[in-house]
């Protein structure tokens, strides 16, 4: 892990009325490293992202961002008004001061949405939409990629592909990742560090360590028994398009699906 710091939150606290949303939260984001926020609903995960992005002011604590930090933001799934005629290409380049078809095509290619460029944004499926959002975030050449529940509305087979894509692009672009995720089992496989949040920091560390932490087990114990358990595994075979079992070729990484 690199020692250059992209962004840092120190002793962040926030209340809304009487409710404590965040209490004394610290976090640091490094280049080429994935930090995932997990936690139950209402734990303040999205709020913490908003504080990091400068969209929400904290009551106490310090927000530090590397000077000149470029951020790519993938917000939670949102609804496009049907009355807005907008193509995917236009949406990706919406914040460019000059339309740059080459750069847009390049980013769309990287996230695998080249074919969707001329389509209306309203016609996208959940998985396609997340890739389009990712392409838009890449267009900014981000040092830091912030994703708020990128798995929302994505089907199970698309999910692991999406997280693999985020990781693969991380190696190419060298960005750091800060994300909120509910997909515990997938997150654990593709993240460097996990921060388990429940208004305060429950536990923090590498995925394997966090998954054994008593606070984590207390929060997510039920989901483990419900089949969302964290497990490290290696496939000794894969499936072809007909679903038949074929042996794994040597040196090939295992694929889900």
């Amino acid at each position: 892990m690199s020692t250059t710091l992209l962004a840092k939150l120190e002793h962040i606290s926030l209340r809304m009325g009487q409710r404590v949303i965040l209490h004394d939260v610290d976090l640091k984001v490094y280049p080429e490293s994935v930090l995932t926020l997990i936690g139950p609903n209402g734990a303040g995960k999205s709020t913490l992202l908003r504080v990091m992005l400068g969209l929400q002011k904290a009551d106490g604590g310090k927000v530090w961002r590397m000077p000149g930090l470029r951020v790519g933001y993938v917000p939670q799934k949102f609804h496009f008004d049907r009355l807005l005629p907008l193509t995917v290409e236009r949406f990706i380049g919406l914040n460019l001061s000059r339309h740059d078809a080459v750069a847009i095509r390049q980013c769309a290619h990287e996230t695998g949405v080249s074919d969707l460029l001329p389509q209306a944004v309203q016609s996208l499926s959940g998985g396609e939409f997340q890739r389009v959002l990712l392409a838009r975030a890449l267009l900014n050449k981000p040092h830091l990629l912030v994703l708020d529940e990128p798995g929302q509305g994505v089907d199970v087979s698309g999910l692991s592909e999406l997280y693999q894509l985020i990781n693969r692009l991380k190696q190419q672009h060298g960005y750091g990742v800060l994300m909120v995720s509910h997909d515990l089992h997938l997150v654990m496989a593709s993240t460097d560090q996990v921060l388990c949040l429940n208004r305060h920091i429950c536990c923090f560390g590498q995925p394997e360590a966090v998954s054994r932490h008593p606070e984590y087990l207390r929060l997510f114990g039920d989901s483990r028994t419900a089949g969302l358990a964290v497990y490290t595994h290696h496939h000794d075979h894969q499936h072809d398009v007909h679903g038949c079992v074929v042996p794994l070729q040597e040196g090939e990484e295992h694929k889900h699906g």
Partner: protein, 261 residues
């Protein structure tokens, strides 16, 4: 044809030019209520202008400008803002304006003219003022087009990507406040929102880009204006409502027409 008809058409064209450009964003941002609140509060401006015996347009712009900024503040503070509150502001201003007008000593005010417009009574000064404003609105819209479009899609994404959301929203809302002051003459405070949203909605089916939709909205507005003034002359109907009826007819027609490939 008579002189007053040409004056009416000239003022009307400038107004629909503005309402077309501004209206598409009102639609995209789901802010139709904003047009209502603003135009309703214009009547309070009229009352204040008549009471003080000073320029009506200035008072309308002032009242609408203050209400626009108040609404922007409410929008950015979800804890305070709600549709109900906006409705309360608009209707209170409308009622207060109407009540205040009846207290004016010596003057018999033609309330209908303010509520439904009186486009056939516009002066040469009105033409100059309205076209001046139209050019100003076009120039500013060209300037804020990209950031405004971006924040209409997703305000927080735009903000993270460097758009000053508050400032661009404020400029846009103040432009609507400016437009209200002159558009009132054409359709009156009660039907003003119709000029903003109906041409824009009619344009949707045939537009492939946001810019096409704005240009088409302006064209639909102009067509509706000419048709409305024509109907009004032929059948001796009130002009403002006739224009809105024509716009609605064009909207229905647009829904029935086959969509071009």
């Amino acid at each position: 044809m008579d002189d007053f008809i040409w004056r009416a058409v000239l003022v009307g064209l400038a107004v629909v030019l503005m309402s077309g450009l501004l209206g598409v964003f009102l639609l995209w941002r789901r802010m139709a209520y904003f047009g209502d609140t603003l135009s309703h509060s214009a009547l309070l401006g009229v009352a204040l202008g008549l009471m003080t015996g000073t320029n009506l347009n200035v008072w309308i712009m002032l009242v609408c400008g203050v209400v626009a900024l108040l609404m922007l503040y409410l929008q950015h503070n979800p804890a305070l803002g709600s549709d109900a509150l906006l409705g309360i502001i608009g209707h209170s201003a409308l009622a207060l304006g109407t009540v205040a007008l009846t207290f004016l000593p010596g003057v018999r005010v033609d309330l209908m003219a303010y509520l439904f417009g009186d486009i056939l009574a516009v002066s040469r000064t009105d033409i100059a003022l309205t076209w001046g404003l139209a050019v100003f609105v076009m120039a500013v819209m060209a300037w804020i087009w990209r950031p405004l479009l971006s924040l209409s899609v997703h305000a927080e994404l735009a903000q993270v990507e460097g758009v000053n959301v508050w400032r661009v929203s404020a400029v846009y809302m103040l432009l609507i406040a400016l437009m209200v002051s002159v558009a009132m003459k054409v359709v009156g405070v009660l039907l003003l929102t119709a000029l903003l949203i109906i041409p824009a909605a009619a344009a949707r089916r045939f537009a492939k880009t946001p810019e096409q939709m704005a240009v088409l909205a302006v064209m639909v507005g102009m067509l509706a204006l000419l048709a409305g003034v024509g109907i009004s002359l032929q059948l001796d109907t009130p002009t403002g409502p006739s224009v809105v009826v024509a716009a609605s007819a064009l909207f229905v027609l647009a829904q029935l027409m086959p969509r071009s490939a």
